[in-house]
Symmetry: C2
Subunit: 424 residues, 2 copies
């Protein structure tokens, strides 16, 4: 509680409200990939994916300001912009994913996606990985909680071991796809035996919270076959990998090479304006709309739709997917040239990459990576950590991140690595 | 499907997406209490509570535009505005309600409130009325669904008969409070017997979706005693009655005269920007923060906080609560002077009022009220209907609604009543 605002937060927001860093940053201004704190100190933002096209992008700000001054209602009245946006959004997807429900958060999107799978299958069983996060509603937080919810863990949820590129499930990169599918098959049997049946499997196509393991294209094919054979749906949570971040494709499921039944979107969708969406095929949408009454007051309102549309415009007009591919490859190359006794693996794709650190005895270097993140912050670069043991440095900057920004980040990382004591 | 946008909606949003009116309105512009459609036709908005301080209020628009151009991050970094807002918001409440979690929608707020009650009590049973709506997440939609969810109705939810001022539960206005408490007491016994126990009771202090029956101050006292004796929490959903709408008090629970443990907020909070909140006492907040990990990326971001703060400023600076009291009383008086063979009761408070219509044989005049709402729309005034049988005209305009607006509305209603065929 060093910062005076921390006491005020505790008084007004209560205990255990999460913050980044031992001494949290008091940010007051943002522009592109840069943030400034209250003391005027500048930080390179190497972490925030919500300001996808850059902090305070003028085109998004202008779209919000203009539409907020013109009209903000809801979809019980007719409006063009929400339709323009869904048309543009679905045009970026294949696999018959042509319809969408606009919501306000990725959590709301995933909450709807679960019900879509229920509506199509008549079953309630859901499978996710054992080291993931899909949102904060009661229903979706049941997929990612580490604490038993009041009333106990819900019986319709099964968590399967997440893939891992340092210690692959099946012992080898080749065996991992089969092993992942086998775990899902076992979970399906358990759900059937418990009377829940299989509604679907929810996963991030980049396994971002799992520590973004390096996985070959086609990795999910055996699992997808098992899911389809059991009649379940594949719900792709694209909140983190989507909108061009991975560089080589606009969506994470394209990179991994599978056909999702439902795609959910959130954080980066409108550059910080609270917008999410659920995209699916007409047959699934009809099943959902037939089984559940659903209306979202703020979802798809004219201002939110305008913010999302401007964000998509900027991604496309400024070539940000291609930028993610080129700068991401460059940053990864520079990161791969770093040497450090604990550096076990450098990995990632596009503007979502990082490095896993492991101790001499093979245990995760969790504290060391925490110290690294603090050291980077002290030197003016914001990054963070992720993975089962939180021993992977996680870098996921706004999409206009440049080669020069990558140089500054990697120079700083080299410096921090050199000055951080290696634990024994 | 008369309007060409309806076909485009069906193609992009799927079937059964709710709209208002047989021929939905294509609104393109809003200002204060006025809306304009694509043909330039002007409508008096007598229905929308989301644009609480008036459509496109310049101070709210300016706050959004300014903050969006300066910084939009999240509460893992420190920022003043979210704290300024929570301080101002909680200053309007008593009963020790001094802490808040900012979220994006009323649905998210209620979803959190349910878990607060679980955290405090260790139980999961929730009671609501049998004709209500508390939001669209999986967890809260279980309180208001009219269709069995996939997997069946959840066992931890009990719905009790809603109060009604035309046909009061206990046969008289006096008996109704006791009867409502008795129904809750029975539901608590059922929840105990089923092993769920009582977490809490969620209700709108104005019983807005129940048709806003006229209830005496103190109506909830017997029920509140029953709930407290059983160790449950009272979760007050103030999404509709809050922020001064009822005129005589800033919050619905003050009007009814009870002390809620948790207050949830949504729609009108930031004049259309997606913002909601859960306000509670420190002991309840600590229990929730101890039992559940919770973080909401967009919740309390600087732009949302600025929008909410500007909205609260305008409510207070423009005296909108007092306006609701004075204009609401005037409108209700004018409505009470209307005569019509089917008009059974005129009721409401502040800028939330309406009239219930009943057929000669005592059955609800649901179709008649639907025709009335369509007739009002045809004459340029937007209103709607509510209640168990949807036979109550529901009027809930933006808060700057003036005496002149009320005159126009009541003159139009008199005209529409006169020209609408009385069904036999």
């Amino acid at each position: 509680m060093t910062h005076p605002l921390m006491q005020r937060r505790a008084r007004l927001m209560g205990p255990n409200v999460p913050t980044f860093y031992a001494d949290p940053v008091h940010i007051v201004r943002g522009d592109g990939v840069w943030l400034w704190d209250a003391d005027g100190r500048r930080y390179l933002d190497g972490y925030n994916n919500v300001p996808h096209v850059g902090h305070c992008h003028p085109r998004v700000v202008e779209a919000i300001a203009r539409q907020a001054a013109t009209l903000n209602t809801h979809t019980r009245y007719l409006h063009d912009t929400v339709l323009d946006y869904i048309e543009r959004l679905t045009a970026t997807m294949g696999h018959g994913l042509s319809q969408a429900i606009m919501v306000c958060t990725g959590s709301e999107a995933n909450d709807v996606a679960l019900r879509m799978a229920q509506a199509v299958t008549g079953a309630t069983g859901i499978i996710a990985t054992d080291n993931t996060y899909h949102g904060n509603t009661t229903a979706v937080s049941a997929l990612s909680t580490r604490r038993p919810p009041i009333g106990g863990y819900p019986g319709h949820v099964r968590l399967v071991p997440a893939p891992d590129s340092l210690s692959p499930l099946g012992g080898s990169a080749e065996g991992q796809a089969r092993a992942f599918a086998d775990h899902i098959a076992r979970a399906i049997v358990e759900l059937d035996e418990a009377g829940h049946g299989l509604a679907g499997v929810m996963l991030c196509p980049f396994f971002a919270n799992e520590g973004f393991p390096t996985l070959p294209k086609g990795f999910l094919d055996p699992a997808a076959q098992v899911i389809r054979d059991a009649g379940g749906l594949i719900l792709a949570d694209e909140v983190q990998p989507g909108f061009g971040r991975l560089g080589s494709a606009f969506w994470g499921h394209e990179v991994l090479g599978f056909a999702p039944d439902v795609v959910t979107l959130g954080k980066p969708m409108a550059n910080g304006h609270p917008v999410g969406a659920v995209v699916t095929r007409p047959d699934i949408m009809a099943a959902f709309r037939g089984a559940f009454g659903y209306f979202n007051t703020f979802g798809g309102n004219p201002v939110s739709a305008a913010a999302a549309l401007a964000t998509l415009d900027v991604i496309q007009d400024e070539g940000l997917q291609e930028n993610a591919r080129v700068v991401g490859a460059y940053a990864l190359e520079r990161m791969g040239a770093l040497t450090h006794p604990l550096l076990a693996q450098v990995r990632g794709q596009g503007l979502f990459f990082g490095a896993e650190f492991v101790m001499d005895d093979g245990t995760p270097a969790s504290d060391f990576v925490a110290t690294l993140a603090e050291g980077m912050r002290a030197r003016g670069v914001l990054v963070n950590r992720i993975g089962r043991a939180m021993n992977t440095l996680k870098i996921r900057p706004p999409m206009p991140f440049s080669r020069e920004n990558a140089d500054l980040m990697m120079d700083t990382l080299a410096l921090v690595l050199a000055e951080t004591k290696v634990p024994r």
